[in-house]
Every structure is written in structure tokens, then in C-alpha cells.
Amino acid sequence: MNSMERVLTTLGHKEPDRVPLFLLANMHGAKELGLSLRDYYASAGNVIDGEMRLLEKFGSDCAYPFFYASLEIEAWGGDTIFSADGPPLCGPPVIRRPEDIDSLRPPEVESSPALRRVLDTIAGLKQRLDGRVPIIAVAISPFSLPVMQMGFDRYIELMHEQPDRFLKLMQTNEEFTVNWANAQLAAGATAICYFDPVSSTTNIPRDLYLATGQQVAKRALARIKGPTATHMASGRCLPILGDIADTGTAVVGVSILEDLARLKAAAAGRVTLLGNLNGIEMRRWTPADAELAVKRAIAAAGPGGGFILSDNHGEIPFQVADETLLAIREAVDRWGRYPLDWVQDWTDPGPT
């Protein structure tokens, strides 16, 4: 099977030849080219070359033309702050006072140089990969975007204290997110990873999710013209897994903070799980640690398909060594081959 066939099979809740691996080490492309993150992301050509080298080196089952989250904020008029050793961060809020929401307008995708670079990257990858490897593009959910637009604390206050302005912000953001996601699909993306960490039960209670984030997701996903994966970016979601499935998403990115076997049972064939290796701990993993973590995840969620092995955040830290990524790759090759006969007799050795 090629990567596309492998992923489509597991999305159909059937067992492919092996567990698919989404190794979302997008920043490592800059290392491959010997560039700073700022220079790397300044050109679509760099990211295309970087992604191709990462695919060659680590054998991930997807290309991941995700630059950095605050790139979307650049389209809204905000700034990005680059650093040498980690993901670029969002600058000062573009919504400085709640009243700013009243006159906020969604930016045009085509008028943003940053967004156009991503579209060019997707188009270039599409040309090179020719449908063999899925291209997973990213759109921040309209419901989670305000964390960068106005700050998380002010956003929580807005949700609770100014419901009308909250709705206005959601309408504005939905227009942008839907257009941005559809532009990436039109450029050649296979699917959209809909990052929605605010909806996680780590951040808001279920009743608030049902009244807010879920409604937004239902409306937005219905207008996105392709498959979506909803990612909680390390947040918990077990109590709302069925509710997330109700939004029409095909995949849910899950956290190491929750039991993967329980998540798999709760998914009940409705959604495929994506996760849940601990990217923060990964920085100091030995090859043996990597192998054990891979075995644990596959044993918990691999049987029957409906599972893609990945990190639990949707972005592997820049500090994680190539040797660790290669150890993950090798462990998947060794323990991820279907049928997973070893799982039944395997006993977890416990903490290393």
C-alpha cells in the first residue's frame, strides 16, 4: 500500500498493511535545509523542499504544509514573532477592545502574502506527490482563533459576558476559516486539520462546548469542501468525543492526558483517532523510550484500524532529535504491521 491507500483504509475503520504514521515535525524542514525558521517559512520553495526531504528521511504517511499558527493572524493584520528554537508566536492582539469586533471584517485569502505562500506550497507538493501521499493542511477553527486575535483571558470573558459580540466574532471568523480551508483544498490539500483546542474539555465544560464550539464546528465543517480532522492540540476530549463526531469530522486528534484505549472504545468506529505520543517528553526519549511509547499507543488503539499514530499536539517540538524520530519510524515498522498478533499477549512493562 502507498500512504494514501494506508490512510484511507484506516479511515474506513479497516486494517491496512500497517498503522499509518503522521510524523508532524514540520519545523524540522528548516533544519534539513540549514535555514532559520524565519527564512525557511519565507518561501514556498523552501517548505516544499523541506517537506520532501522529511518524507524521504522519516517516511511519514502525510505531507504537512503547516507553517505556524500565527500565519493566519498575519492575514488579519497581526504580527508574528520568530525565535531561533521554537514555533513562531503571535504578536500583540489584533482585537484590542471588544468593541473592535463590531467593525471586524474577514480578510481575503488572496490578499495575504503569507496565506498565498501556503497555497503555493500545497500546489507544489501536490505536483510532486501525485496523490500517493495525503497532504494535510491546517485551518484554525473560528472558535479557537480568538485566543490569538484577542488573548485567551479576554476571549473567555467575551464568551461569558458579551454573547452578542461573541456571535458576531464567530460569524466573521467562520467566513474566513471556511474560505481559507477551501482555498487550501482547491490548491491540492487532501484534507483539513481543523485545530480547535478551545473546544477541549481542558478549556471549556461540555455544556458550553455544545452551545458554542460544537455549533460553530457544525456550521463551518458543513461548508468546507473536503474531509476534516479535528485536533484538540493536547487538550482532553473523552467526554465530548461523540459530540465532536456529530460535527461531521472524520478524525480527532487526542491527548496523552487521556487513556487511548478508552478513547478508542468511545470513538466506536465513528471517528478515527490521531495521536497521542507525548511531544514534550519526546525531547529526552531514548530509542527504547520511543519504541515503548509506540507499542503502547498501537496496542491501545491499533486493532481494527481507525487509528493514525502521531504526536498529541499536532506539532513536534523543534528540539526533538532526528534519532528519536527515526526510532519512532522504526518502531512503527516493527510493531505496526497488521495483523497486530503481538498485542494480545503483550504486557506493558510500566514506567521506564
Binding site: 525565535s83 528554537d85 521554537g86 473567555i156 465544560p205 496523552i256
Partner: protein, 220 residues
């Protein structure tokens, strides 16, 4: 009070309903329960015996996954208001505490720091809020202010790793400032706080109160 000493009455029957009122954002009920506490004990005792344990329980519940960050934030903010009303900053009943400060290191994600700041103040502590700083600025300011306890909040892994620079610079300058850290990277890697040279790590805002309380006794 029928001759019963003001602070000898237990408020334990009020803690669970008070916590539940905070979690459901029921301000009217929370105010009423706090008023009930004030009718039984002194303001400082009401803070220590009702607000502190309720916020601590909420913090633990967040860590275990049964309460959300939005509830902790809104609850902490409301408690801060309640404490402001009964214990103004200059109130002599405010805790005699080491000079303390809280800072967001390097990042731009303020929520964690704001929650800890609210919970600390709602628990009767006064502390400097340094906002967002980078390593050099923080070291200079903490030394200039003669800080004894420094609470460092981060969200991103690179910022967490920069705590090592803060700790080593403070030590190189002969400072004995105790540093407690908190934030997502420390929750996902339980060894990281030791690696960066911190003296303690809080898993929730309630932990910050416990840590500073313990250090306060050590320093007394």
C-alpha cells in the same frame, strides 16, 4: 455569635456548595455563601477556610480533567473580587509573606499567569505582577525588587527551557530566590522543572498557593 470565638466555627459545610457555585458561574449563590461565611468567622478566616480550599479543589479537579480552565479562570476572578471587598490590599490581615512576584516568561499567552495571580490574591497573597518579560529583564527586576519567591508561567516549550537561564543567572548573582514554575510543558513532562533548575512546580493554581505557603513557613 453567642459567645463562641469568631474563628472556631467550621466552614466545611459551605466549601462544596461554594465551589459548585463558582463552577456553574452562579455569582448570586457564591455571594450568598460567602456572606454566610462572613456571618460566622472573620474575613481572613472566610478567605482561608472557604475560598482557598474551594479554589484548591477546583485546581485539582482541572488537573484530573473534571473542571475546565474557563471555570477556573472565571471562578478565580470572582473570588479575587470578593477578597478585594473584605480585605483591601493594605489590610493588616493580609498574609505576612515573602516578597513575591509572578511573570509570564518569554511567551505571549497570559491566561495561566492571570489565573494563578487571581487565585493567589483570592487566597490573601499580595504579589508583584511583572506581566511578560524575557530572561535578562526578569533577572534584573527580581533582584532590584529583592524578590524572595518568583512564580514563572509559560505555555511553550522553548520558554520553559529558558527558565534554566533565569535560575542560573540568579544563582550566578548570588541570589537565593526560590523559583516555582507552571504551565503546559511542565504538565506534559514531569521531570522538566528539575531539569531547568526550578525549586518547585505547580500543576494547578491551587498548587501555587500550597508551594508559597510552604516556602513562607521555611523562610519565617
Amino acid at each position: 455569635m453567642g459567645g463562641v470565638p469568631m474563628n472556631s466555627q467550621s466552614l466545611s459545610d459551605l466549601i462544596t456548595p461554594f465551589r459548585e457555585s463558582l463552577e456553574s458561574l452562579d455569582r448570586i449563590r457564591a455571594e450568598s455563601l460567602f456572606a454566610e461565611a462572613l456571618s460566622r468567622v472573620s474575613p481572613i478566616a472566610a478567605v482561608e477556610q472557604l475560598i482557598v480550599p474551594a479554589l484548591e479543589q477546583m485546581g485539582n479537579a482541572w488537573h484530573e480533567g473534571s473542571v475546565a480552565l474557563s471555570q477556573v479562570y472565571m471562578g478565580g476572578r470572582f473570588c479575587e473580587e470578593l477578597v478585594e471587598r473584605v480585605l483591601p490590599p493594605s489590610d493588616p490581615d493580609r498574609k505576612h509573606q515573602p516578597r513575591s512576584a509572578i511573570v509570564l516568561l518569554n511567551d505571549y499567552h497570559m491566561l495561566g499567569k492571570r489565573i494563578v495571580y487571581s487565585v493567589m490574591r483570592a487566597s490573601g497573597f499580595e504579589l508583584f505582577d511583572y506581566g511578560r518579560m524575557d530572561v535578562d529583564e526578569l533577572v534584573e527586576r527580581a533582584l532590584a525588587d529583592r524578590i524572595r519567591v518568583l512564580l514563572v508561567s509559560v505555555l511553550m516549550l522553548p520558554s520553559a527551557l529558558k527558565v534554566a537561564d533565569v535560575c542560573s543567572q540568579l544563582k550566578a548573582r548570588g541570589s537565593d530566590i526560590k523559583v516555582a514554575v507552571g504551565g503546559a510543558p511542565f504538565l506534559f513532562d514531569g521531570e522538566l522543572w528539575r531539569e531547568v533548575g526550578a525549586d518547585g512546580m505547580g500543576r494547578s493554581a491551587g498548587d501555587a498557593v500550597t508551594i508559597v505557603d510552604a516556602w513562607m513557613r521555611e523562610m519565617a
